[in-house]
């Protein structure tokens, strides 16, 4: 082993430690949420398996954006996404074990359900740790020069996914949907759009995508706020469906529940462009 290879291995292990830190920070609220433990075994197994399959390309694309390491090839992004998944699984499993959520009387299905569900936010944290806790921010931004619009929408999607995933497991989503009248739901849509637009506007003057400085407000609103909100609603609906929260509810209640999740998801989408 040459000294260069050894140094690269040491760099990787250092990055790995950082990834564990990121995974725990991002997953901790959910690791300590009771509904998440229950979803681990009560959630439909097909839907959870489908979620894990669909989430993988998202991790690969996220790796391309921010990089667990300085990746330049498709192969490296897949490897990074797998490493993030490994970190997500291990950190979630370890914390659940220490908290006593995993028990010797649990069936393999129950353990796999509990851990793999928590591995989703944890693996996002493992990847994001590189930009948030490390020093690769400038580089990550530089890499986003190519397909900027698609890339920005993807980042909005990741923000929406993360926030929706944090809130959709809770009982409150449906409880709010039951309480709210149609008027409340419409107000919530308006409020979501207004807050999202404030973030979109903030990014436009944040300096990074400089071209936005000259674009008119309605263009920003249509291209980012509306599209971002649509992404947030779709992801919110998909996550609610995955968690079985939409099973057996009327269309009206389902739509209200989606607007409830769409509120944090939309803000997550809009804020992600500032944060990531």
């Amino acid at each position: 082993m040459t000294s260069h290879t050894r140094r690269r291995n040491i760099d990787f292990l250092r990055g790995l430690a950082r990834a564990f830190a990121g995974a725990i920070i991002f997953a901790l609220p959910l690791l300590m949420t009771m509904e998440m433990w229950f979803l681990g075994f009560s959630m439909d197994a097909w839907r959870l398996a489908l979620f894990l399959v669909l989430f993988f390309p998202v991790l690969v694309a996220l790796s391309w954006h921010i990089g667990f390491e300085d990746t330049f090839s498709w192969r490296d992004d897949v490897v990074d996404a797998l490493v993030a998944y490994a970190v997500g699984f291990c950190s979630a499993g370890l914390i659940l074990l220490v908290l006593g959520v995993l028990d010797s009387t649990d069936s393999p299905r129950e353990i796999v359900g509990k851990v793999s569900l928590q591995a989703v936010p944890a693996s996002i944290g493992a990847l994001l740790a590189q930009t948030q806790l490390g020093e690769q921010k400038a580089e990550g931004a530089a890499r986003r020069q190519g397909p900027r619009y698609a890339s920005e929408l993807f980042i909005m999607g990741v923000g929406a996914l993360f926030l929706a995933f944090n809130l959709a497991p809770t009982e409150e989503m449906l409880a709010l949907a039951f309480r709210m009248t149609q008027g409340h739901a419409l107000l919530l849509v308006a409020l979501s759009l207004a807050l999202m637009h404030a973030f979109v506007y903030g990014v436009a003057f944040h300096g990074r995508p400089r071209a936005h400085g000259e674009t008119p407000a309605w263009s920003l609103f249509l291209r980012f706020t509306i599209v971002g909100y649509a992404i947030a609603l779709l992801l919110g609906a998909y996550i609610l469906w995955s968690f079985g929260r939409l099973d057996g509810v009327s269309l009206l209640v389902a739509v209200k529940a989606v607007t409830v999740v769409g509120f944090p998801a939309g803000i997550g989408a809009a804020a992600a462009r500032l944060i990531l």
Binding site: V58, A61, F72, S73, D80, L82, Y85, Q145, G146
Partner: protein, 143 residues
Amino acid sequence: MADTHHDQQRVPPQAGSPEAAPPFWEWVAAGVGLLLVLASIGVLAYHAWTGQSALPRPQVQVVTIEQQPAGWLVAVRVHNRAPATAAALRLTGRLRQGSEVVEESKLELQYLPGGSSREGGFFFLRDPRLHRLEWSFESYEQP
């Protein structure tokens, strides 16, 4: 999502950072990740395949019987032999003397996941060892 576009318009590697294969330990970690994901999907798909529309099948097993200041405690382990989860599972324990029920005690388990066990206990005033212990499940909710 947007990821399909990235490959076509990828920014080329910057100068001074040669494209190198991931270091050894990264391959190891990636292998662990691949294994964990595939195993999880495998377990879930297997259970989804075999456990379709199954109903819970709970079973009670006495762990221990203990005398306490206020009476007797019968600690039980309830095991679900089917893959389907039962929520709010209610069961009743009875002490019988002949055909007569002399005492009754109730237990509700918040969740009994498929294939898993949960523990609980029944309190009785009379010594359960001198009577016939009987269990009956009352109801459950689908989670």
